[in-house]
């Protein structure tokens, strides 16, 4: 590879991006201008620089004209920097001898009506990129091996799907779930729209597949506490909470729960607190693993040190599995990649008191309705309130979704599950009067519109209201009255609220541990909403399911399979390139003052001493694997003793100087 160190030959390529750039920026003028800049050997424009013929132009100039630094002025480097780096590499040039000027997102699109000023701005941006390009040095990628294991956090349908798909590629996979069983929200559902498949019938076989899979290690009732390291080499600390039951001995017979003195007295969260359980419990009969857990906040023995003369659960357990002295266990897992599949919470409707939730037991959420209608639920699937079948049922959509003052997004599943709920009441309660208050029915998925039409034809009355129109649910004579603006009042026996899907309320801790970002809606942020929907900005960490945004089951499963494929790539490849744009100590400038050491967020810097010319020389040493290239060190150093390759102070400064025209 030839490199003209002191006098580089720079090629400048301006993209028209169809007319996205050229409709605003006078591309020809920018090309002409670029030719006048120092060290620019060639300057061209093309309709689409990212296309094959566009790339070929660059390659040809590298080969024929000896271009050794490339500047492309086009879209955001967040979009196509990797594309053009690969072009350089193909042509035998170091991929880091490349700089991009963003004249689309930051120029033509933002100043669509100011053509002259946009053209001047594009010239400036090109001049700045050329100034930096002149100082770019080739960088060598460092290869590190990737550990052949993956971690999936969350054991709902997305985590289950992701774990199975990774493990089916022959990769050892840890599946960590914080509750005592996998299954997640889907296990709580009765039927699934639009096909009305029984949720348990399609989910539980997958749960069993997880338990039986030779390459999946299941860690239930466990929490991810700490994640260190980087892609290929994550070190994950997991706390396996004490179940107070030895899961190797427990056979899941349930005699302990029968014997528990709190039997039928503890709120059952799996049934959305509509039913009761014991202090020792399995969340639901098909739980995986089918092992009992003692609820430490409820168990009399754990709280007081005494439960009768001898704990009845312990007495009932023939397998001798109960151990009230059990302690949490902390394990460390080494994994190459991580999939986050932590699911969602539901909007708390007490935040909107007008819906009357919490004031009357006749106002319930959609998920509570699922438990009420499920044959494994507290009423055995018989829809009843206070022991009586409700004859008039009102469903209200968009509770906490599509709210400009709250969650602005649409939760995507409520329209269809409400249609399903209405259908289930129609099926089970003879002669019921059913009303759905909706704003827009969003039936966008495969088979959704057909299902919605079917339900409407079953004599369910769909009443349209605007999102901002007042609606109120009040208790009256043992019933609930729904007063919707512009509609006659309805005296109902039951009101079902379609509450919004929201990010897990307590997700902040995990977000911090994983160092992944959340959007304004609090859902985890993908790198690119269209092209990289499963990747986070932290390399090696991927997203699946509702933790990234509301989704139905088909979309969740599709995304989980995609995330599994993404997470498997570095593992199957066996090695990963580390970004060489990390910090480098310039020993001759560094006097070992150590100002940079404390601010480093990754503890990647250490002060060392060595003998030089018969005297002790202090200097700083940078750990390349730990360094992420943030450059806090570079900005702290008073002497340019530490730099970030590709973003050196000299290079950034050259851009400023080029802009201001000082040399």
């Amino acid at each position: 590879m030839k490199l003209n160190g002191e006098s580089p030959k720079i090629g400048v390529y301006i993209c028209e991006c169809g007319i996205n750039i050229s409709a605003t920026v006078n591309v020809e003028k920018v090309v002409e201008y670029a030719r006048t800049l120092p060290n620019v050997t060639v300057s061209r424009y093309y309709k689409y620089m990212c296309s094959d013929p566009g790339q070929a132009l660059i390659k040809k100039d590298i080969k024929e004209l000896g271009v050794d630094r490339v500047v492309v002025a086009s879209c955001s480097p967040r979009m196509h920097e990797p594309t053009f780096r690969a072009v350089l590499e193909d042509a035998g040039l170091n991929p880091y001898c490349f700089e991009m000027a963003n004249i689309r997102e930051h120029c033509s699109w933002a100043h669509a009506h100011e053509k002259e000023k946009a053209t001047e701005k594009a010239k400036d941006l090109v001049r700045m990129a050329v100034a930096k390009a002149k100082l770019l040095r080739p960088l060598e990628k460092k290869e590190v091996p990737v550990i052949r294991t993956a971690l999936v956090i969350g054991g709902g349908i997305s985590g289950i799907q992701a774990a199975l798909e990774v493990a089916n590629k022959g990769i050892k996979t840890y599946l960590v779930e914080r509750s005592p069983s996998i299954g997640g929200r889907m296990a709580q559902l009765d039927k699934t729209f639009p096909t009305l498949d029984c949720s348990a019938c399609i989910l539980t076989p997958k749960m069993v597949d997880v338990a039986r899979h030779p390459d999946i290690e299941l860690l239930t009732y466990s929490i991810v506490e700490k994640v260190d390291g980087y892609i290929g080499n994550f070190k994950v600390t997991v706390r396996k909470k004490a179940r107070y039951v030895d899961i190797d001995k427990c056979v899941g017979c349930g005699r302990c729960a029968e014997a528990c003195r709190l039997k039928g007295r503890v709120d059952d969260e799996f049934n959305e607190n509509l039913g009761k359980r014991s202090a020792i419990y399995v969340p639901f009969p098909q739980a995986v693993p089918l092992k009992y857990t003692i609820d430490p906040n409820k168990c009399i023995y754990l709280k007081t040190g005494k439960c009768g003369e001898f704990p009845p659960c312990k007495k009932a357990c023939e397998a001798n599995a109960i151990n009230h002295e059990q302690k949490d266990e902390v394990v460390e897992l080494d994994v190459g990649t991580i999939i986050v599949a932590t699911g969602y919470d539901l909007f708390d409707p007490t935040e909107k008191p007008e819906y009357g939730y919490g004031k009357s037991n006749r106002v319930i959420t959609g998920l509570e309705f699922e438990r009420l209608v499920s044959s494994s639920g507290p009423t055995g699937g018989h829809i009843e309130i206070d022991g009586k079948e409700p004859k008039k049922v009102v469903f209200i959509q968009c509770v906490g979704s599509r709210d400009r003052k709250g969650n602005e997004y649409c939760s995507r599943v409520c329209c269809m599950y409400t249609a399903k709920h209405a259908h289930l009441v129609r099926e089970k309660v003879r002669g019921a009067e059913l009303t759905v208050y909706y704003t827009d029915v969003r039936a966008f998925g495969k088979g959704f519109e057909e299902f919605y039409n079917r339900v409407k034809d079953e004599g369910i009355s769909y009443m349209r209201r605007e999102l901002d129109d007042p609606i109120e649910v009040v208790e009256k004579d043992g019933k609930v009255v729904v007063k919707a603006d512009g509609h006659p009042d309805i005296e109902a026996d039951l009101v079902v609220l379609a509450t919004a899907i929201i990010q897990r309320k307590d997700i902040g801790g995990l977000a911090k541990v994983l160092r992944i970002s959340q959007g304004a809606d609090r859902f985890f942020l993908e790198v690119h909403p269209k092209l990289r929907p499963m990747d986070t900005a932290t390399r090696g960490i991927f997203l699946a399911g509702c933790c990234q945004g509301p989704k139905d089951i088909p979309d969740t499963v599709a995304q989980a399979s995609g995330a599994a494929a993404r997470a498997a790539i570095p593992i199957l490849h066996g090695k990963i390139d580390l970004d060489p744009q990390t910090s480098e100590v310039i020993d001759k400038n560094c006097d070992g003052c150590a100002y940079c050491i404390d601010p480093c967020p990754y503890k990647a810097l250490t002060l060392i001493e060595y003998m030089r010319d018969g005297a002790i020389k202090k200097t700083v040493e940078a750990n390349e694997a730990l360094c992420q290239g943030c450059g806090v060190c570079q900005a702290t150093c008073p002497k340019q003793g530490i730099i970030v390759r590709g973003f050196t102070l000299e290079q950034i400064s050259a851009m400023v100087q080029a802009l201001l025209g000082v040399t």
Partner: protein
């Protein structure tokens, strides 16, 4: 101050939040004044105080640093380091007799395209009120 004064504002955007926020502003066709020139840095904490001082001493009318909101920094707390440094930068500017309003540190997330446009608009308006930098004659490009 002439009415047709068009400020030139050197803008540093962190790669993860603010640069992406500026991208989103463009993608969403948010229109804002073309007076800024964005330099991509990996983190707002990467911007050396000397870069800010130097830019203002060499005739930039303003310097804007945009980073992730506190708590959202891709590098955990680089933005907080930037915030601490901003205090020091303002003190230096005072010493040099440069209006501290010519320098701003703002938080813009990757999803705040609208906000990015507003931040730029506000800053351009403020600099227009302040007038050209006293060091503008240092500049070769106008």
């Amino acid at each position: 101050m002439s009415d047709d004064f068009e400020p030139l504002i050197v803008t540093f955007c962190c790669n993860w939040c603010s640069y992406a926020g500026a991208d989103l502003a463009g993608t969403s066709r948010v229109q804002y004044p073309p007076n800024i020139r964005i330099i991509r840095v990996m983190c707002s904490g990467m911007v050396h105080p000397n870069l800010v001082i130097d830019a203002l001493m060499k005739g930039a009318d303003g310097v804007l640093i945009c980073g992730c909101h506190p708590g959202d920094c891709h590098y955990l707390e680089g933005n907080l380091t930037a915030e601490k440094r901003a205090e020091a930068i303002r003190l230096m500017l005072e010493d040099l007799g440069i209006e501290t309003e010519r320098f701003r540190l703002e938080w813009v997330s990757a999803s705040e395209g609208q906000r990015f446009g507003k931040v730029v608009k506000d800053m351009v308006e403020q600099i227009k009120t302040l007038g050209p930098s006293p060091y503008r004659t240092q500049r070769m490009t106008q």
